[in-house]
Symmetry: C2
Subunit: 342 residues, 2 copies
DNA sequence: CTGAAAGCGCTTACAG
DNA sequence: CTGAAAGCGCTTACAG
C-alpha cells in the first residue's frame, strides 16, 4: 500500500492539487465547504504529506543532528532526553550520532549531517578534538550550531555550559572546610575544556586558602575516556605514592566510584582517612556505599536549553535575522553525602 | 553560503546536469576526462547532494526510526549504541524517539516517523502498550518493522529477544542450588511480555524442583516503571510480611539495587540471610556492595542484531522480495557475584 | 474562491 | 559519449 498523495485526493474530489494543498493548510482563500471535504477524505485515506517533497520546497527539514561522545553515559543520556523532549514540542526530530571521543569520527558525522540537510546541529565535543575546521565549516555554511558541555572556546557559536571552574572550586573548598589538609585531583584527560577548568578551580581553591599546590598530586588518565578503571588505577597509584593525602577532588563520578572501590579493597576508610568529592551527580553516586558527595550537573536542563537556543537560531536564520552567539551558564550545586566529613 | 547544486557545477563546466550527475556516480557511459573534471570541481566546491531531492526520486531516506521507552537506562543506551554503530556501517541515520512507557506517546511517535518516511522502524514497546493497531498500521503500509526486547507476540513482524523464561529459570535455579528454601520474586509491572516470561521461568523452576509456588511471594510494582524505589519499597514490605524468605529473584538490576540498599539499611545480611539475583547485568551491579549476581542481557548485540534484521528487510522490500518474519533469540548468561552464596 | 504553472534538486529512460 | 525531458510530491506567486 503506497502512501496517498495530494494528486490522488485532488482526483477523487475533482479539484486541483493547489486547492487540496491549501485546504489542508487552512488557507483563508478556500471555501469552508471544500476544506471540510478535503480534510475528511485526507483523514479517511490516512494522508500524510511526503516530507521530502515538503522539505525540498521549503528548505526546512524539521530535523536536527546531535553529535555526542558517548551514548552509554548517565549525563549524556539525560542530555539526549532533554533535547528530544524539547524538540518534540516544536515538531523537530533528532538524529543522534556518536563520536566515540574520536576527532575523525566526529568530523565524518558532522559531514553526514550537513549532507542530510538538517536544520541545525547540536554537539558536545570528543575529548580527542583539538582542530575545529569541521565546526567552522558548519558556521560558514550558515547552519545554526550550538555546543554544550564540552565546548571549544575558539569556535564562534552559542554554548550551553556550566561554570566548571567555579563548581570545582566549591568542591575543593568543601574538602578544605571539612578538614582536609592535603588534597589530590584526578583530572581526567588532558584536552577537554572542562577538564582544564575543573583543574583550574581546584588549583585556585588551594591557593586562595593558602595551601600548597603540588603538581604531583594531579593524576591524569591514560586515555581520552573517564572510566571506572581509571579511578581504580589512580587510587592505587596515589595510595602508594602519597599516603598523606586526605582528600581527592575527582573529575567524574564514574572515576570516583572506581577510586572508592579500590580504597574499599585496600581497607582505606572513607571519609575518615580520605574524603572524596566527585562530579556529575550520576544516579549511582547516591546509591553506592559510601554515597558520594558530588557536584550536580543538570544534564536534562542542559539538553533542553541547548535545543531551545538552537531553535531560536534556526528561526532567526529562516527569517534572515542576524543573531550573535550566546554563552548560557547553567547552575550547579554541591550535593553533600557520606564520602566527605559531616 | 548556499549549498552547491548540480546545476551550478554543470553551468561552470558548460555541460549538462545529466552528465554531471552521472559522472559523480561513476556511470560507465561518461568519459574519464569529463568524470575527472566534474569530480574535481565538485570537491573544490564542497558539493554534497541534496538528500531531499535524492530521496524524493529514489523513495529511500537512508534513515530509520527508533522508538524506545526510556533513553536514560543502561540497557537501552547500549541498544542505541549497537543500533547506531551498525546503521553507520550501511550509511543509515537513526532518529530516536522516547515513548516514556506511554502508549499514547508511542502511537504518536510511530505516526511521526511514518510521515517522515523513514525506511524502517525499530521499536521496544512501552510497558503501557496493550493495543497494537499502530504497529499493525506500519506493517499494512509495507514499512519494515522490527521489535526488540519488549515485544508483542501478536504482531506479525521480526523480533529480537532473549529467552526470558529460560534466563529466569536459570536465575531461580541458581538460588535453589545455593541453598535457598523460600524464594520470592519481584516481577515488575504486570503487562510487558518479559515480565510475564520472567515470572513464568521463576515459577517453573520452583515447581520443577518440587518447591511450593506461593503467589504471596510475588511482588508487583505500583507503576509501569522499574525504579530504585520499587526495590526499596518491595524489600521493606517483604521484610515485614515474609521474614522467612531467604532468596529473591528480581526482575531488573535497578530494582535489585534498591532492594539491597533497603536490606543494608535494615541490617539484613546478603547473602547470608537473603540471597539476591538480578537481571540485566547493568554495569553498576558489578560495583555496588555486595556485587550482584545477575543475568547478562546483551544490549549492544541486541541493537546490532535488530538493525541488521531491519536492514535485511529494507533491502528485501526494495527489491520486492517477500520475506517472512524471524524470531531471533540472543544468548544470556548467569553472572555469579557476591549477592548469592559461594 | 479556484486552478495552471513554475520550480525545489535530483535521477534515469531514452534519443542521438 | 552527451543531453533534453519527464517526473518524484509538494508549495506558492499569480491570474482569473
Amino acid at each position: 500500500m503506497k502512501p496517498v498523495t495530494l494528486k490522488e485526493i485532488a482526483e477523487k474530489l475533482n479539484i486541483s492539487v493547489t486547492t487540496v494543498s491549501k485546504a489542508l493548510k487552512d488557507y483563508s482563500d478556500v471555501s469552508p465547504k471544500t476544506k471540510a471535504l478535503v480534510k475528511e477524505l485526507a483523514a479517511t485515506l490516512n494522508y500524510t504529506p511526503n516530507s521530502f517533497a515538503v522539505h525540498l520546497r521549503t528548505k526546512e527539514s524539521k530535523t536536527i543532528g546531535l553529535v555526542i561522545p558517548e551514548v552509554v553515559h548517565h549525563f549524556f543520556s539525560n542530555v539526549i532526553k532533554g533535547i528530544i523532549s524539547e524538540a518534540e514540542k516544536e515538531g523537530y526530530l533528532v538524529i543522534i550520532l556518536q563520536s566515540n571521543e574520536s576527532y575523525e569520527l566526529e568530523k565524518k558525522q558532522i559531514e553526514l549531517l550537513m549532507s542530510h540537510r538538517v536544520d541545525g546541529i547540536l554537539i558536545s565535543l570528543a575529548n580527542g578534538t583539538a582542530d575545529f575546521k569541521h565546526l567552522n565549516a558548519v558556521i560558514e555554511q550558515d547552519k545554526p550550531l550550538v555546543m554544550f558541555d564540552k565546548i571549544a572556546k575558539l569556535v564562534k557559536c552559542s554554548k550551553i555550559i556550566i561554570d566548571d571552574q567555579k563548581a570545582a572550586y566549591i568542591a575543593t573548598q568543601h574538602l578544605i572546610d571539612t578538614g582536609c589538609k592535603r588534597i589530590a585531583h584526578f583530572r581526567g584527560p588532558l584536552l577537554p575544556q572542562n577538564s582544564i577548568d575543573r583543574f583550574l578551580g581546584y588549583k585556585k581553591a588551594l591557593l586562595d586558602n593558602g595551601m600548597e599546590y603540588d603538581p604531583n598530586l594531579v593524576y591524569l588518565n591514560d586515555c581520552d575516556e573517564n572510566s571506572f578503571d581509571d579511578g581504580k588505577m589512580n587510587a592505587a597509584k596515589l595510595y602508594k605514592e602519597h599516603n598523606d593525602v586526605d582528600g581527592i577532588f575527582i573529575n567524574t563520578d564514574m572515576v570516583a566510584i572506581g577510586a572508592i572501590s579500590e580504597f574499599n579493597r585496600l581497607g582505606v576508610k572513607i571519609p575518615e582517612e580520605i574524603s572524596i568529592v566527585g562530579f556529575s551527580n550520576w544516579f549511582m553516586s547516591s546509591v553506592i556505599s559510601p554515597t558520594i558527595t558530588t557536584i550536580d550537573q543538570p544534564g536534562y536542563a542542559m539538553g533542553q536549553t541547548a535545543f531551545k537556543q538552537l531553535y531560536k537560531e534556526i528561526k532567526a536564520h529562516k527569517n534572515n535575522v542576524a543573531i550573535s552567539p550566546e554563552i548560557i551558564q547553567l547552575e550547579t550545586a554541591l550535593v553533600k553525602r557520606e564520602s566527605t566529613k559531616n
